[in-house]
Symmetry: C2
Subunit: 375 residues, 2 copies
C-alpha cells in the first residue's frame, strides 16, 4: 500500500448538487442561471479564437489585466447589484473600484480557498448554516470554524457574531445573501459588524448572489481596509461553466492573495475564459436583464409558496429556501424529482426538511408549481 499524506485524513470534501444522467431533468439544484450567455459574447469569444488561435498555444496573461479592468468598470457602473435598473441606483450604492482592487481566479471556489490560505490562521467565525465549502476549506487548511447560530427567522444574530469574533480576535466570513437561506443583510448591518469586529482581522463577505439582491458592501471598501468581498461569474453572469471568480479588496489584501496564487498556479484563468469574462462585463446590461427576470420569477414563486402554505424567508438570491409544516423534506424532494425536476436538499440537522430551489425560467417554475401544488 502506498502511503499518502496525513493531511488527507482530515478532509471531508464538498458534495455538490447531483448531476444524474439517467434522464433529462429541469435543473433547479445548483443555483445556475437559466439563461444562456450574451450572444455578443459568444460571437466575440468564437471570433477571438478563430482570429488568434495561437493565443491558445501561449500562456495567458497571469494577471488577467483586461478582465480585471472590465470587472472594475462594471462594478463602478452597477454598484455590485445587477438587478437594479440604472436609474434605481442611488449615490450611496455607487462603488469606486479600480482594477488593482480586483484579483481573478478559477471560480470563486479557488478564490475562497486561496483567501483562506492567505487570511485565516487558527480560527474564523462564520454562520451556523452557510456555504458548505467553508468548513471544507477549514479542514483543508487546519482552521477552526466557530459557528454563529442563526435566529429562528434564519437571520444572522449580528451582535452575537461580532462578539464572538471580538472575543476570539478572529476573522469573519459570511455570505450575503446567505446560502442556503437566501436571507440578506443590509449594508448598514454589514457596516455595523465591521465596526464591532476586530479591525485588524480580515472581514470577508461572499457576495456570490448579490446581483439578485439589494445592497452590496462594495462602497464600504473605501473605509475598511480589512474588508474582502468575493464574487463570481457563475450565478448572475451565466458563466458557471467558465470558472471565473474574483476578490475585491484594498491593495494589501490583493497583494497577499496574488502571492499565494503565484505559489500555487501562476495562470489560473485560461485565455478563453479571460476573453469570455471581459466581454461579459462589457455586456452587463444583458445580464442585468436576466437578473431582473430571475428576481421577478422569484417574487412570483414566493407568492405561490405563501399561498400554498410553504414557509420561506425572503430571498435576495436566485433561489428560495422553503419548507412546509408536516411535510418531510426528503419526501418532497423525491416527489419533485420523480416529476423530472431536481431541487437541492441537505442532510444537515436543523434544515433537513427544507428545499433549496433555484429560480429558473417562467416555464420551469410553472412546471415546478404544478408539482408542488400536490405536496
Amino acid at each position: 500500500m502506498t502511503q499518502l499524506s496525513n493531511r488527507l485524513k482530515s478532509l471531508d470534501p464538498y458534495k455538490p448538487g447531483e448531476q444524474p444522467k439517467d434522464r433529462q431533468y429541469i435543473k433547479l439544484n445548483a443555483n445556475e442561471n437559466p439563461y444562456p450567455p450574451c450572444p455578443e459574447t459568444v460571437k466575440e469569444v468564437t471570433d477571438f479564437l478563430k482570429e488568434h488561435p495561437r493565443a491558445a498555444s501561449l500562456y495567458a496573461d497571469p494577471d488577467s489585466t483586461v478582465l480585471r479592468g472590465e470587472i472594475a468598470a462594471m462594478l463602478c457602473r452597477t454598484g455590485g447589484v445587477l438587478c437594479k435598473a440604472e436609474g434605481d441606483t442611488p449615490a450611496a450604492d455607487k462603488a469606486n473600484i479600480t482594477p488593482d482592487m480586483v484579483y481573478c481566479g478559477n471560480g470563486s471556489d479557488e478564490v475562497l480557498s486561496l483567501s483562506f490560505y492567505a487570511f485565516f490562521d487558527d480560527a474564523i467565525v462564520s454562520p451556523q448554516h452557510s456555504y458548505s465549502f467553508y468548513p471544507v476549506y477549514c479542514g483543508y487548511y487546519g482552521v477552526k470554524q466557530e459557528k454563529a447560530m442563526l435566529l429562528d427567522d434564519w437571520t444572522l444574530d449580528i451582535e452575537r457574531m461580532a462578539e464572538t469574533a471580538t472575543r476570539l480576535d478572529a476573522p469573519t466570513i459570511l455570505a450575503n445573501p446567505n446560502a442556503p437561506t437566501g436571507v440578506a443583510l443590509t449594508r448598514d448591518e454589514v457596516k455595523w459588524m465591521l465596526d464591532n469586529s476586530p479591525h485588524g482581522r480580515v472581514f470577508m463577505v461572499d457576495e456570490a448572489y448579490m446581483d439578485f439582491g439589494k445592497e452590496s458592501a462594495l462602497p464600504l471598501l473605501e473605509s475598511y481596509e480589512n474588508l474582502a468581498i468575493v464574487r463570481t461569474f457563475s450565478k448572475s453572469m451565466c458563466a458557471a461553466g467558465m470558472r471565473i471568480g474574483y476578490l475585491v479588496a484594498n491593495k494589501p489584501l490583493i497583494d497577499a492573495i496574488t502571492t499565494v496564487k503565484n505559489s500555487m498556479n501562476h495562470f489560473p484563468v485560461d485565455a478563453l475564459a479571460q476573453v469570455f469574462g471581459a466581454s461579459s462585463c462589457r455586456h452587463s446590461a444583458y445580464y442585468a436583464e436576466c437578473a431582473r427576470s430571475v428576481v421577478q420569477e422569484r417574487e412570483a414563486f414566493a407568492a405561490f409558496l405563501n399561498e400554498h402554505g410553504w414557509n420561506a424567508p425572503p430571498s435576495g438570491a436566485n433561489f428560495v429556501f422553503a419548507c412546509k409544516e408536516g411535510v418531510s423534506g426528503l419526501e418532497a424532494y423525491k416527489k419533485i424529482k420523480k416529476a423530472g425536476i431536481l431541487v437541492r436538499r441537505f442532510d444537515t440537522p436543523g434544515i433537513e426538511d427544507y428545499l433549496r430551489i433555484t429560480i429558473g425560467t417562467h416555464e420551469e417554475m410553472s412546471s415546478l408549481q404544478y408539482v408542488m401544488e400536490d405536496i
Copy 2:
C-alpha cells in the same frame, strides 16, 4: 494594518518567464509550442459554443469524463511520446491506460500542487536543479526538499538519489526530461529507481516534455502502484493558454487527488477547456507532426551550438540548455534580448551562465542563430 496568515511569511512565489510589453519579441523563454492548435479543434470548440451556449451557464462536468476518456485513448495510441511515428513505437512502449487512471486539473501546476498536498508530508527527494515550482510547493505545504546533486554532465545520479530516498523513507519527484537541463532518463533508469526507492512512497515523474522525448514511464504503471506521472497540454499539445494538466496513476492515487480536488475547487477544468482538450486528443496526429518539427529544429540547433563552441547536454525536450566558455550568461541573454528575442536565464548559483532556449519555428531559430553567431 490587517493581519494576514502566518503561512504567507514562508512563501517565495515562482517567477515565470518575463512577458515584457514594450515591443514584439520572439518568445523562446517559456517553452511554449510555436504552432497554433489544430484547426479542426478551433472549429469544434467554436461550433460547440455557438450550438450549446448554455453549456457556459451550467457547471461543467466535475470529473472531466469525456476529456479523461480521450486522454487515455491518446496515451494508449502514442505510449506518451508524440514525436515518434506510429510505426516507430515498439511493443515495449505501448501503454495500457484506462480513463479511471487519469485525473484532470487546471494546468499541471494545479495537478502538481494537489499532488504535493495528497502525497507528500515531511520531506521529498528531488533533483538539485529541476522545475522551480517544486520548492515553491514545498514552501506552500511545509514539506522539506532534500536535493539530489546532478553530475557534471547534468545527468541525475540515480543511485545516490535512490539511496537518499531510502535513507529518509521519503517520496521522490523528478522531471523526465528534466528542466531546465533537458536531460532525459531511459525507462530502464526510471525502473531501476522505482525498484531501489521506498516501495510504500509515491514516486512522481513529471513528464511535461516527454512528447518530445524517447521513453515514457507510462508502461511501468502496470507494475508500480506508487508511480504517479504528471503531464500537460501546455507544451506538445499547443494549449498553454487553456490550462489543462493531468495525472496518470493507479486508482488509489487517483482517488486521493480527487478527494483533495473536491476539498479545494470542485470544477477546476472549465467547460470550453474540456471540449478543447478532448478535441485535441482526437487530433493527436496533428500535434505529433508539430512535435516532430520541434525535434527536427532542436537537433539542427544542437548542431549549430556544437559548431559554434556552445556546450549543451543532449535534450529530450522542446528546449536546450546551453552555455559557452568565457561568455557571461547575463551578457548573452541581454544581447539576444536586444535583438528582439527572449530566452530564459536563471540567477540560481551553478547555472547562472546557462541559457534555456525554447525551440521555435525554423524562421525563429534562424533569427536566433544569426544573433548567436556573434556571441
